[in-house]
Symmetry: C2
Subunit: 358 residues, 2 copies
Amino acid sequence: MEVYNFSAGPAMLPKEVMNQAKEHFTDFAGTGCGLVELSHRGPEFSKVLDEAQTDLRELMEISDDYAICFIQGGASMQFAMIPMNLMLPDGFAEYADTGTWSAKAMKEAELFGDVRTIASSKDSNYDKIPVIRHWSPDDKASYLHITTNNTIAGTQYHAFPTSKAPLIADMSSDIMSRKINVDDFAMIYAGAQKNLAPSGMALVIIRKNLAERAPKNLPTMLKYSTYIEKDSMFNTPPTFTIYVFGLVLKWLKRMGGLAEMEEINDAKSEALYELIDTSDFYRSPVFPESRSKMNVVFRLPSEELEAKFVADAKKKGLSGLKGHRSVGGIRASIYNAMPLRGVETLVDFMNDFARENG
Amino acid sequence: MEVYNFSAGPAMLPKEVMNQAKEHFTDFAGTGCGLVELSHRGPEFSKVLDEAQTDLRELMEISDDYAICFIQGGASMQFAMIPMNLMLPDGFAEYADTGTWSAKAMKEAELFGDVRTIASSKDSNYDKIPVIRHWSPDDKASYLHITTNNTIAGTQYHAFPTSKAPLIADMSSDIMSRKINVDDFAMIYAGAQKNLAPSGMALVIIRKNLAERAPKNLPTMLKYSTYIEKDSMFNTPPTFTIYVFGLVLKWLKRMGGLAEMEEINDAKSEALYELIDTSDFYRSPVFPESRSKMNVVFRLPSEELEAKFVADAKKKGLSGLKGHRSVGGIRASIYNAMPLRGVETLVDFMNDFARENG
């Protein structure tokens, strides 16, 4: 039975990538050793690191004004590193509160300066992205922080705010799922385990001159400048995660790049939302204009039916569909690696389930 | 040709472990998904995490007074987290300076308090562990920090200091290579990529009540209490690294545990040191009482011969023998995963090389 894994993260990786990583696991590049066993300073890993950076620059059209850093600790460590490095002395930062992860980022920033909520959908259970034209960004903010996709609530920005302050985006759950203009952001970061690679690092794309703002007395491992100056090799990086990330990038190139990926992702999410919107059985708790193309959340008529849905789906090879424990319901995470075929299989199952249980 | 990889880290892993990880890479525990693709909150990874902790407690005889934490960032992140969490207000800490890694740890600690050098071998190029009976630990120190094995200099503690202050040991390069008494330490930590697993995390074994000392205003991801209270699952941990670590622990149990491992490691290092000490061609720069059983460093009559040695060895399947770029010479890293057979092959090669080039 073909298994389609709709887990929100760690999430499925492209089948080709998984097979490549397996094939070379114990003998990388003819060394007789696995990549995980090789020195990070040797020629084999140096090539892996270089190619990952080159391929990422090409796919996302990243200019030399930006550095690409691989930093351990996931997005959660970035929640702290951002204010540590980028909050101006006696400064304040603006955060849009669009979900659990935004709120966690704000909590860490409060340790380092004044945190101002520029917009929030908290009072309506994060069911939308607050309408951006109503925001009033303050030019004097140290930075403006947004979370472009909210895995738990199932919302996503389909346009971005502009501010004279540096715009910082947590793209953990939608990075490389669509074309964006990197120059619109001062910093983009993403935990790896959704759209990029196994867990264990964050990808950080940061405008080099922004990193110069950091106080001088930060610990070495918590300064962006360390990663920029040492090319993410001040200490031993997570070599296997970077290697698999590199394989994912080459897969994205073979797939045609981000514009092609975006079309596939549009088709996948449209198939699910169309079913939900034309159904009396399924319902979306999210405002249509704010719906996520990565995490499609929906409800059934009862929690009992939702539990049966998850259990029956699993028997058909459709796993990881249970909504986040904080909100319940169903969540289908359909990142880049989820093929259209997987979504079609889910749609068929949903139609059958509604007919049999409606 | 059988390849023996003497790299200092990331280093070779047991062949059985590599084969197991490969076999299950795309289908873990019958899920049809790889472990790297599964949610860290699911039953499969929960079992992996639980078993790793249980097996580690058994192998190292760790009491419930201690927590076991998996923290991203390697030992280098610990260099900062230790003083951030454990330096008392207006306090000082004592560090023994026995090599490059001790010095790096001291540099980070200086950001958070007064750093006092309790002992140092820096003036003699770190060729020994300073004689411990000459140390005078200060009971009022926030803690006393040592580096039990020094990969670059090739030295190792064969006894440990005692102090009323908490003893903290960086065991990155000799953890689980021998029996130690965990109760002699307040905290033990180790980057994973030498004796434990692929790169991407540090193992931290910390007395629970020590962690309570931390200031309240630390970022969540930089507090030991977060990892203790959330069982290293506040955010997504490096699941693959922890999984391979678990396989290594089960391999250690099959090998007979740490006492048996210590005997094998003694035999391996003795074979090399005996050859070096009876040879007119090879010479050890390290005081005999301080020699490392993990990283055997030695010199040849000239740098030209050293370069030839490394190149010729590589042709015979003996890789990673070049000394650290900061000191030159030859370094054979013979962690747990290096079988006795690998060392015997190296000894044979060294005898041949000396005869042909001496």
